[in-house]
Symmetry: C2
Subunit: 356 residues, 2 copies
């Protein structure tokens, strides 16, 4: 029986990418060595790094002043690095609070300057995206989290503002076209749409850097990583290679417009069933529903365990909701195929027949 | 023809580890998913993390107050994290400067307090390990770099002092038994003896932590990583798994005493040839020669390229010396087999017959 990986992250990767990654572990491009044991300064790996950078630029149509970095430390390190590099101690940054990850970003940024939370959806357990707020013109930046894995909400439109936006796109980058020119900095842990855990993509408008009056350790200074093309120190070679393979796959699938269509189709399948099936209801406000993580609950707590068991029998793995929300979460990232979403929809229909 | 990987890092890994790593990329332990796409909070990965920690503790016979962390960011991040966590702004730390990596550690530590370089071998291009120095009793810690990949020097004995030692063991950890109780903190990028690039081992005496008066971002605070068993955020899953496999391999090979014997045998083979062969001479002072990286030069610059070519024909890869030293460097980490060192020795003998 085929197993369907609905895990929220680390998450499903394209089957072709996994096969190529395994082959590279055994022998990289026929050079007689594993990818795991070659120098990050070898011509073979420099080519991987350059291709990965070029694919990011091409897929997102990056303006020239935007630099692409592959760092380590996860989005959690970006929570403080963004503020450390962009916010003066007496400066102000605006944050929109849409859940756990935004809250962590806010907490870390407060160590480096003044943080103004200009909007929050905490009043309704983060089940919506705030839309009514004023962005202070003097803010160093506006920070937002584009997709909220735990609550299943997503920004479907970004604010229009002259304040540079800093965005955590860990869970929806490369799932749809975006206009990068509105952003000053975008960061994303790889382990959803992009690759395995262990590498973090940063896209930064170079013009914003080098302006704060603060001592920054070399490894935490974006400028150093730009100068050294993400090899200021030994980069995470294997995670970067798998990311490059995934970017190649996205391009081969037709790029970001095709990805968005593919993701919209899958999301429609699952949300239509959530809305149709009397035994389930969605968690997030309809217009803010995430195309990546569909959150839903049963009306009846007694239904939870039986449905989880039935879904598991149908091969659907990883659909238990985050402990802070409960219920279920179907993460349907780029690499998930339509047939897997259909398997879950059928399990929901089966559950209705048995319990309805 | 067998190829021999003398790369300084990322470096050779045991063949059995590479095979198991590739298999796990395809299907992890028969669960039907790749290791690259499972949650770091899954029981399967928690087991990996716990086994990796337990193997570190067992192999190094760690006292109870020492905690094992698998972090990201490389040794380069430890250069500043150690000082950030252990050195007050008005405190003093003592450093021994044995080359490029020590110098970088010194530079980063200076951002956080007073750094006293109590000894340096810079006067002789870092070709020896300083032995005559006083360790100030009030120092927060004494920092040293146990093995210097570029120059081919290694501490064969560590100072005896009541000052806690902080040691960068990136290139010789698990190559020999050490008495951890003399150290306050040990760190090591994995990509030499331990695994692929992308994970950093930190072993820390918990009693030293939480004493500095400084705001530390969550991701840079060792205490947070200890509390969350290296999963404060998503850890680098695949690099940690390969590290665990390598630790299993070290244990199966007989542990650290057996590793040291194996490494001494290989080092003797190459150094005996360097000393015997009139066309080569060693770079490092004899008593400080590294068991991990043998550095040597020809007496005649015209011999450099021809020897590199001849070695390559014999399958010996990665023996070009670091650009700051020139000549040759044979990195002969744990996973390198004796036959590979013999292949290089034979190439040196062949070169003597042709050019002697």
């Amino acid at each position: 029986m085929k197993k369907h990986n609905f895990s929220a992250g680390p998450a499903i990767l394209p089957a072709a990418v996994i096969e190529q990654a395994a082959a590279a572990v055994l022998d990289f491009n026929g050079i007689g060595f594993s990818l795991l044991e070659i120098s990050h300064r070898s011509p073979e790996f420099i080519q991987v790094m350059e291709e990965a950078e070029a694919l990011v630029s091409e897929l997102l149509q990056l303006p020239e002043q935007y630099k692409v970095l592959f760092l380590s430390g996860g989005a959690s390190s970006q929570f403080f690095m963004t503020a450390m590099n962009l916010l003066e101690q007496d400066g102000h940054a605006a944050y929109i609070d849409t859940g756990t990850w935004s809250s962590k970003a806010i907490k870390e940024a407060r160590l480096f300057g003044n943080v103004d939370v200009i909007a929050s959806s905490k009043d309704k357990q983060y089940t919506y995206i705030p839309k009514d707020y004023l962005i202070p013109e003097g803010a160093a930046y506006l920070h937002l989290t584009s997709n909220n894995t735990i609550y299943g909400t997503q920004f479907h439109a970004f604010p229009t503002t002259s304040v540079p936006m800093v965005c955590d796109m860990s869970s929806d980058i490369f799932s749809r076209p975006i206009d990068v020119s509105g952003f000053g900095l975008i960061y994303a842990g790889a382990q959803k749409n992009l690759g395995p855990a262990g590498v973090t993509l940063v896209i930064v408008n170079e013009e914003l850097l080098g302006k704060v009056n603060r001592v920054i350790p070399s490894m935490l200074n974006y400028k150093n990583h730009i100068e050294q093309q993400s090899s200021y120190n030994t980069p995470p070679v294997f995670p970067i290679y798998v990311t490059m393979l995934t970017l190649r796959w996205i391009k081969a699938m037709g790029g970001l417009a095709a990805m968005e269509q593919h993701n919209r189709t899958k999301a429609a399948l699952i949300y239509n069933e959530i809305d149709r099936n009397p035994l389930f209801r969605g968690v997030a406000q309809t217009e803010d529903r995430s195309l990546m993580n569909a959150t839903f609950v049963t009306g009846d707590p007694a239904h939870e365990k039986p449905f989880l068991a039935l879904a598991k029998e149908a091969g659907c793995d990883g659909i238990k909701g985050h402990r802070s929300v409960g219920g279920f979460r179907a993460s349907i990232y780029n690499a998930m195929e339509q047939e897997s979403v259909l398997a879950l929809v059928q399990a929901m229909q089966h559950f209705e027949r048995v319990n309805g």
